[in-house]
Amino acid sequence: MAIPQPQSGAASVARAWLGFALLLAAHFAVRPLLSTRANVDFLLIAVLFSAVRVRPGVGALIGLVSGLAVDALAPSAFGSATLAFVLVAFAASWVKAVFFADHVALTGLFVFLGKLVFDAICVSVGGGARGMGLVVQLLLWTPLSAAITALVAILLLTIFRPLFRPGS
């Protein structure tokens, strides 16, 4: 499968950074307004959409910075989100380069799986939930959050195509 060649240039890079900044702002501005157990993870969408534009090592670096930002605001499990973001961003960049073409539904599935893996790592490493709470978190709230995040990602990709489409 042919990998689409991205358009080089400052405009594409600027659009990519603008999209990342908007999603980062949404993560800290919109997410507290929703305040539910199954919530949208705008930062994960930003990391995934950025990781597919760069090589895996840079993706891991983006994950590291994003994870540190999240862990700094929730220091009880400092490092768990960082580790999860690093692994997910590296894997996303690697998997995207190997398998996926630019397809909205596949992108939704990509975000869904990314959120599942991210939450699984966070919950497992962070140790916030144990026993039945861990099971409920992994079998109920994590899939719900992943589904909602995937839907929002598809919506954003449809509406703001120039910002988030890797080939643009």
Binding site: L33, V54, G57, L73
Partner: protein, 381 residues
């Protein structure tokens, strides 16, 4: 963000990517295993420096969310308070109704049965009440059903332990009624209007001379065998026009509104026979009501006769003046021609006779109807 740069590292990234991944994972693990005070120090430093705008943004967003939640809580609290106040008001109303029922029971003393309403059993029984008392408790057909406010209806069917009453809104409901001052008598029946007016009453057949003001209380007259005299039926709202031009019809606000019907009292026959004067209102007995009706009729006839007499006197006086004027002119002419007749002969004969006739009571001259035997003419033989 140079995707093309990784074309050289086929399927998995190069050594640089692997090293960057290992370095990032190592940093994350260090963050995980470092002592808590170092973790907090690092997090605090990040929050105070590069993450300060994000912290502020998140704080403001949380404030907005707290305001929304607080507003929602306030609205919820207001709704709960309104609901509680409504339930308290309902309880107060129920207590008031029960106190008034107890007061009515104390005034009646005996000869009644207190009944509770049974739930409605169908959609077509808007004007029927199901009561939890029956013939075992002494309830009989046509017994009045009342509350402390007035007439509710009457018993239509009686079972052993239950009974069914029609309310005043039933199209077949009728009660003979009068004003408290015994000026107006008539028959109260449901006002068969539409909408809200369907829950009104109308007092029909009121003599035209009896005019009632709005707000006048209408009570049962005791004429008939069902309702004792003096139970409130309703208050006058106003007069309504009907094709019956010889009588007045008044619209009444019922004394007992459908929504306020709770526990009721069924009056037994012996209690009705003893009368309920001074229970709801202080009015005279049924006999005096009949005498009042007759007296009102007599006074009306007397007033009509006096009016007719006055009119005739006025007419005759004017005729007398005319005739005197004519006689004066005729006398002048006769004086010129010579005396032939008396000038005052007309006054001496006709005027006194007419006055004597008008003082005599007017007796109807219509012959009494002949008594027929057998079925009515309209009935097929």
């Amino acid at each position: 963000m140079a995707r093309g740069a990784r074309s050289g590292s086929a399927y998995g990234g190069g050594r640089l990517d692997a090293m960057m991944l290992l370095a990032c994972v190592a940093l994350a693990i260090i963050g995980l295993i470092m002592p808590a005070r170092y973790r907090e120090a690092a997090a605090s430093a990040l929050r105070a420096s590069v993450l300060a705008p994000l912290v502020q943004l998140e704080s403001q967003s949380s404030g907005v969310h707290a305001a929304i939640t607080s507003r929602r809580d306030v609205l919820t609290a207001r709704a709960r308070a309104a609901t509680d106040s409504l339930s308290i008001r309902a309880i107060v109303d129920e207590n008031t109704t029960l106190r008034r029922m107890m007061g009515l029971s104390a005034r009646l003393q005996d000869g009644f049965v207190v009944a509770e309403l049974l739930p409605r059993r169908g959609v077509d029984d808007d004007f029927t009440l199901s009561l939890n008392v029956g013939s075992t408790a002494g309830v009989e057909r046509f017994a009045p059903v009342v509350t402390a406010d007035g007439i509710v209806g009457m018993i239509e069917r009686v079972d052993k332990n239950t009974s069914f009453a029609i309310t005043w809104a039933d199209p077949s409901f009728r009660v003979s009624a009068m004003s408290v001052d015994e000026v107006a008598f008539g028959i109260v029946q449901p006002h068969l209007g539409t909408g809200v007016e369907r829950l009104m009453l109308e007092l029909r057949g009121v003599p035209f001379r009896a005019k009632l003001d709005s707000g006048a209380l209408i009570v049962s007259s005791g004429l008939g065998a069902t309702f004792p005299r003096g139970i409130p039926v309703g208050t006058v709202v106003g007069e309504i026009s009907t094709p019956e031009k010889w009588a007045r019809t008044y619209l009444l606000m019922p004394a007992v509104l459908p929504a306020s019907i709770g526990p009721v009292i069924v009056l037994r026959a012996e209690r009705g026979a003893r009368g309920v004067n001074q229970i709801w209102t202080n009015v005279a007995s049924a006999d005096s009501a009949a005498r009042a009706i007759a007296a009102a009729g007599d006074s009306a006839a007397r007033k009509t006769a006096l009016d007719e007499l006055a009119a005739r006197r006025a007419a005759l006086d004017s005729a007398l003046i005319d005739s005197l004027a004519r006689d004066t002119s005729a006398a002048a002419a006769a004086a010129r021609r010579g005396p032939m007749t008396r000038i005052d002969s007309l006054r001496a004969d006709s005027i006194r006779r007419a006055r004597a006739d008008t003082m005599r009571p007017r007796v109807p001259t219509v012959p009494p109807p002949a008594v027929r035997s057998g079925p009515p003419p309209t009935e097929p033989r």
